[in-house]
């Protein structure tokens, strides 16, 4: 009886892909797909309060990541994320390049050489990514930036991991949902960082494109693990 239950749980657990290098590669591939699919949406969002290049920049950046993945297969999730960091910083061009590049770089550093990521390591890597974005962009919560997607995501991931969840998929889902809600929360905000801040009060009523692309990236991480 006990055996059967344990067996059943193990079987369920296998529904979730382990967060290994294959997951990382799939995640990045899904990121590229998402950026291509949402390219026009991001351009439109950025046209309202920025310089309308975010969709194009993110699409170009992740297409370059795809090309790199085609050239060589990384050995660990950390290596995959470090390659992504380097590529985004070199190909994106706008502020999103160094911001996302730093996020992926800090996450890669947090993960080290680990072959597989468990729930606490995942929460820590997301926090490191967010801290990198904050350090690089000097934005705070409420400034109408990607931080408004990342900080709720980090908090939700940590809560899920601290709650004893050993299910990495649960942590990823919590992060993605919080990031999506966080992106929506930027709608009424008045921008205080980046080009949107030049618009002042007129930036209210628009969703921040960086927060939206952040949510897309974290949603892709769920897709890669499911």
């Amino acid at each position: 009886m006990g055996c059967a239950r344990a067996h059943r749980r193990a079987a369920l657990g296998r529904v979730t892909m382990p967060l290994d290098v294959n997951w990382a590669v799939k995640w990045l591939t899904l990121c590229a797909q998402a950026m291509a699919e949402h390219r026009v949406e991001l351009i439109e969002l950025d046209r309202a309060i920025g310089d309308s290049d975010h969709g194009e920049n993110m699409d170009r950046g992740f297409q370059a990541v795809l090309a790199k993945l085609g050239e060589s297969t990384p050995e660990t999730p950390g290596a995959a994320l470090k390659m992504t960091a380097m590529t985004l910083m070199s190909k994106v061009g706008g502020a999103a390049g160094p911001l996302y590049g730093t996020a992926f770089l800090r996450a890669a550093t947090a993960l080290g050489d680990a072959a597989e990521i468990d729930a606490p390591a995942l929460a820590a890597a997301l926090a490191a990514a967010r801290d990198g974005i904050v350090a690089r962009g000097k934005a705070e919560s409420g400034d109408k930036t990607m931080v408004d997607a990342w900080t709720p995501a980090v908090d939700a991931a940590r809560a899920a991991a601290d709650g004893g969840s050993t299910n990495v998929l649960g942590v990823l889902v919590a992060a993605a949902e919080a990031a999506e809600a966080g992106a929506v929360s930027t709608d009424p905000m008045v921008a205080r960082k980046g080009r949107a801040s030049y618009l002042g009060e007129r930036s209210a009523g628009h969703r921040d494109p960086g927060a939206v692309s952040s949510a897309l990236i974290l949603r892709a991480a769920v897709g890669a693990a499911a």
Binding site: M86, S90, G94, G97, G101, T102, L105, R136
Partner: protein, 240 residues
């Protein structure tokens, strides 16, 4: 080997042009441009910045924070700063690389002249950043003083008065020479009230031929600083 300088700009043309301008005043300094994205668009590229830093001797082995060498990085707008900071995160040995918070053109010229004069990496950055101080502390219509109150409240350790004898007076090249040399000395210097280590500050004096420069200096190198300025002025900066 002198300190090298890397210019990070969103525009390849701005970076190249700024380097061309500064190189005229500092022919022996390695000044490298990292402008635009690697496919020639407006933006900044980590790869370009890293390549320039490596070419400038900033990464790999050999250059440490010993002061003998090093690299100062100047940037233009927001994400150029972020890209430069990111590059430092990627470098194995960023100790000898300093980011200067300075206006690109004025800061670059001041830094290049300081490097040409043999200043170490910290002094080169200081020279660049002094250009920003001058721009921010330009006396406005209200006649606000520059940010030198901290030293000017005490009597200077050394002073001197020198009359400009060259035809063109204190134009860009002499200002760069004065500021560049002073940046490498351990002294706070004012010339007719502006920061002597600031090229742009000196240029705002609009001092023509016949103007007397009143030099006040504080600190261990005060006497050397006054002698340095006096020597240049009296020689007409080597100009007619």
């Amino acid at each position: 080997m002198t300190v090298s300088i890397v210019v990070v700009s969103h525009s390849e043309k701005i970076a190249d042009g700024a380097v061309e301008l500064a190189a005229q005043m500092a022919p022996d300094v390695v000044i490298l441009a990292a402008g635009g994205t690697d496919d020639g668009r407006i933006g900044t590229s980590l790869e370009k910045v890293l390549a320039a830093l490596e070419q400038g001797g900033a990464s790999g082995t050999g250059t440490t924070g010993m002061g003998a060498t090093g690299t100062v990085v100047l940037t233009d707008l927001g994400s150029a700063v972020m890209t430069a900071e990111s590059a430092l995160e990627f470098l194995e040995n960023p100790a000898g690389v300093l980011l200067a918070d300075a206006p690109l053109v004025e800061g670059l010229v001041a830094a290049a002249v300081a490097a040409q004069g043999g200043a170490d990496v910290h002094a080169v950055r200081k020279a660049a950043e002094a250009a920003r101080g001058a721009a921010a502390a330009q006396p406005g219509p209200g006649g606000a003083d520059s940010g030198m109150e901290s030293v000017s409240s005490a009597a200077p350790d050394c002073t001197g008065d020198f009359e400009l004898v060259n035809q063109a007076g204190m134009h860009a090249r002499p200002a760069a020479k004065v500021a560049g040399g002073l940046a490498s000395l351990d002294a706070e210097v004012t010339i007719n009230g502006v920061d002597g280590a600031s090229m742009t500050g000196l240029m705002t004096l609009g001092a023509g031929k016949g103007t007397v420069l009143h030099v006040e200096a504080w600190g261990p190198d005060a006497e050397r600083a006054v002698e340095y300025v006096g020597g240049l002025v009296e020689a007409g900066f080597g100009e007619p």
